[in-house]
Point group: C2
Chain length 339, copies 2
C-alpha cells in the first residue's frame, strides 16, 4: 500500500525487495570496462538465431528465465512480467513472454522502459497484487539500426552526436518477501517533455531536459538534496546529453556533478568509435542489473536513483517533421532504508 | 490494497470507481447501430489535421481531456495517464500525453490496451498510489492501414476474414472516491497464447484462443459461473473470431452464448462492406466507454467482464515467418458490487 508525496512521487510503504537481477550483453559491451559485471555475454549479434529479432528475443528471454532461477523460483511463481523493448509492437518482449508463459503487461517507454517496468512492478508488489514480479527490457544494435536508421548492410556512417544501441537485456525480480536487499523505496513518473529537438541522431540532447525535470521533481517531492543519493544514474544520455544535462541542472540551481553517472557514457569506456556512447533500453538495464546491482548488494552504493529516459518519436513522426517528445521515469533503490 | 485469488486473478479491496468515461468515433462508426452512444464524432479521417497520425493523436487527446472535464477535474488532478495505441512507438498516446502534461505510463498491448490500461490504473488507485488516473487508447483506420497493411491510396481489396480498424478512442477516469458508479472489482492478466496462426488477415481467429483461456481462468479463479456476468464483452474478435470463440469454449465445456457480445461484431451492425466487423484498440474502447458504460450507469447491465484481446506480432515478425502471439486481459466492472 503506497502513498503519494509531493506533486507526483509515490512512496512504497513496504519497499519491494529486488532479490535478484540478471544482465545479458554482447561482445562490444563485454569488451568495455564493465564487461566483467554482466552475468552472461554472447559474441555474435545473431547468437545462433536466424534473425537479429530472434536474437533479441533470446537475450530478453535469457534475462527473464535467469533472474527467476537466480531467485530459486519457477516461472509459475511469478504473478506478472512487466516489460517492453524498442521494436515495433515490442516483439522481443511479446515473443519472450510467450515462451516463459508469465502473465504479461507490455510496455512502451522507449529507453525509459527499465524504470517504467520497475515502477509498475513495485506498485503491483507493494499494492498487494503480487508476491513476485519480473521487470525486464532489452535492445539490440542490429534490430534498432534496421528499424530506426539504416540496415547494417548499407554501412552508413554515424554522425558524431550519435550513440550506439547496446545489445543487452536486464531483468529484476521484485518481491514482498523481507530481507536485506536493495529495495525500491520511491518513484517519480515522468511527464512528456519536448523542447523542440528534431535531430534524431542526437537523442541525448532531446532526452536531457526530461531527465533534469523528473530528477528535480523527485528531489522536491521527497525533500532530498542534490547529494542525498550516492549515485543518480541516467540510462543513456551519452556524453553530449550528459553535458547538456549538467548545463540544464545548473540553469535550475542544481548541481549533480558529484553524484551523476550515465550508463550510456560509461558502458563503452569512452571508445571513440562509439561516438557519444551507448543507448537503448538494454544500456541502462544491463548496467543497473549488472554493475550497479552488485554495488548495491555489497553496499558500496547505498542510495541510487535510477532515471531512465526515453525518446517517444517514431520514424514516421520524424519524417512528418515532428519534434521528439521525451520522458524520464525515476525509481529510488536503497539498501537498509529505514522509512 | 488488493489481493491475489486463484491462479492469476486480482481482487480490488476498494474497487476503483469509474466516475466518467468518454468515447470519440469517426463517420463509419457513427453510421453504425451504436452511433448515438459515442460522446463525440467526426466526419473526416483527417479531422482538420495534416496527417492521419495527427488526427489519431487528436481523437486520443480529445477523449482524455473530455473524460477529465466530465469528472469536473483538471489535468493537474490526475496522477497518471495509462495508455497506448497500435502505432509504432505508440505515437498517438505519447504525443497526446505531451499535450495534456499528465505523468504517463506508455503501454503496448495491441488491441488489448484498453483492458491492460484499466487493470494497471485500478492497481494504482486501489494500491494507494493515486486518487485519480485516466486510462485511454485509440486506433485509426488510415494509420493502421498504412502501418500494418497498405497505404489507402493503393485501394487494396480486403480478404473476407479481414476486419476494419475502427477510428475511435475511449478513456475512463478511475478514482478511489466513493459513490455509486461502475467499479473495477477483479482483473485477470493475460498470458501470451499462440496456437500457430499465421494469417495476418484473420486476427479474430488468432485472438480467440487467448480470450477463451483468460475468461476460463477468470471464472475459475473467482468461482463464478459461465452466466455470472450479464455481459462478457470481447473487444474485437469480429464475426469469424466470435464463431471460433464459441467453438473453443464448447471444447472446454463452457457455454458463453447467452452472455457473450463482441464489440467488433457489433460496431458496424454486420455491414458486409466491413467484412468480419471492427478491430483496433479503439473498437473495444469506444464501445465500452460509449454504449456499455451508459448501460452500466443506468443499471441495465450490472455485471460486465471486459476482455480485450491483442495480437502481438509485427509486420517484421510476420515477414520473418513467425506465427501470431496473442493476449487477452480481463477486467470485471460491476454496479453495486458488495464484495
Amino acid at each position: 500500500m503506497g502513498s503519494q508525496i509531493g506533486k507526483r512521487t509515490i512512496k512504497f510503504k513496504n519497499p519491494p525487495n529486488i532479490t535478484a537481477a540478471y544482465s545479458v550483453a554482447g561482445r562490444k559491451e563485454k569488451e568495455g570496462p564493465f564487461g566483467q559485471s554482466f552475468d552472461l555475454t554472447f559474441d555474435d549479434e545473431h547468437w545462433g538465431e536466424k534473425t537479429y529479432e530472434q536474437a533479441e528475443r533470446k537475450i530478453y528471454l535469457k534475462a527473464v528465465e535467469s533472474v527467476i532461477e537466480r531467485a530459486n523460483l519457477k516461472p509459475d511463481d511469478i504473478s506478472f512480467l512487466f516489460g517492453g523493448d524498442l521494436l515495433n509492437q515490442i516483439i522481443a518482449s511479446g515473443f519472450a513472454a510467450r515462451e516463459v508463459g508469465i502473465p504479461f503487461f507490455g510496455l512502451y517507454g522507449a529507453c525509459s522502459t527499465m524504470a517504467e517496468s520497475a515502477i509498475l512492478g513495485s506498485m503491483a508488489v507493494d499494492g498487494g497484487f503480487a508476491r513476485y514480479v519480473v521487470c525486464a527490457t532489452s535492445s539490440h544494435f542490429a534490430t534498432a539500426e534496421r528499424q530506426f536508421r539504416n540496415p547494417l548492410e548499407l554501412g552508413t556512417p554515424k554522425t558524431p552526436s550519435a550513440q550506439n544501441t547496446v545489445s543487452a537485456s536486464g531483468a529484476v525480480l521484485l518481491t514482498s518477501d523481507r530481507g536485506r536487499y536493495p529495495a525500491a523505496t520511491h518513484a517519480t513518473a515522468g511527464r512528456v517533455i519536448d523542447l523542440g529537438a528534431t535531430d534524431v541522431n542526437n537523442m541525448g540532447a532531446a532526452m536531457a531536459p526530461a531527465a533534469v525535470e523528473t530528477i528535480i521533481c523527485h528531489l522536491e517531492d521527497t525533500g532530498r538534496g542534490d547529494n542525498y543519493y550516492d549515485v543518480i544514474l541516467t540510462g543513456d544520455l551519452g556524453t553530449f546529453g550528459t553535458s547538456l544535462f549538467h548545463k540544464l541542472a545548473d540553469d535550475s540551481q542544481h548541481d549533480f556533478s558529484a553524484v551523476h553517472q550515465d550508463c550510456g557514457s560509461l558502458i563503452y569506456g569512452g571508445d571513440e568509435k562509439m561516438n557519444c556512447g551507448g543507448s537503448g533500453c538494454g544500456c541502462g538495464a544491463s548496467m543497473l542489473c549488472g554493475h550497479f546491482y552488485k554495488e548495491l548488494v555489497q553496499e558500496r552504493i547505498k542510495r541510487l536513483l535510477f532515471v531512465a529516459t526515453g525518446a517517444l518519436h517514431s520514424p514516421t513522426s520524424a519524417l512528418q517533421g515532428e519534434s521528439i517528445p521525451c520522458i524520464a521515469h525515476a525509481i529510488s533503490i536503497e539498501m537498509g532504508y529505514g522509512g
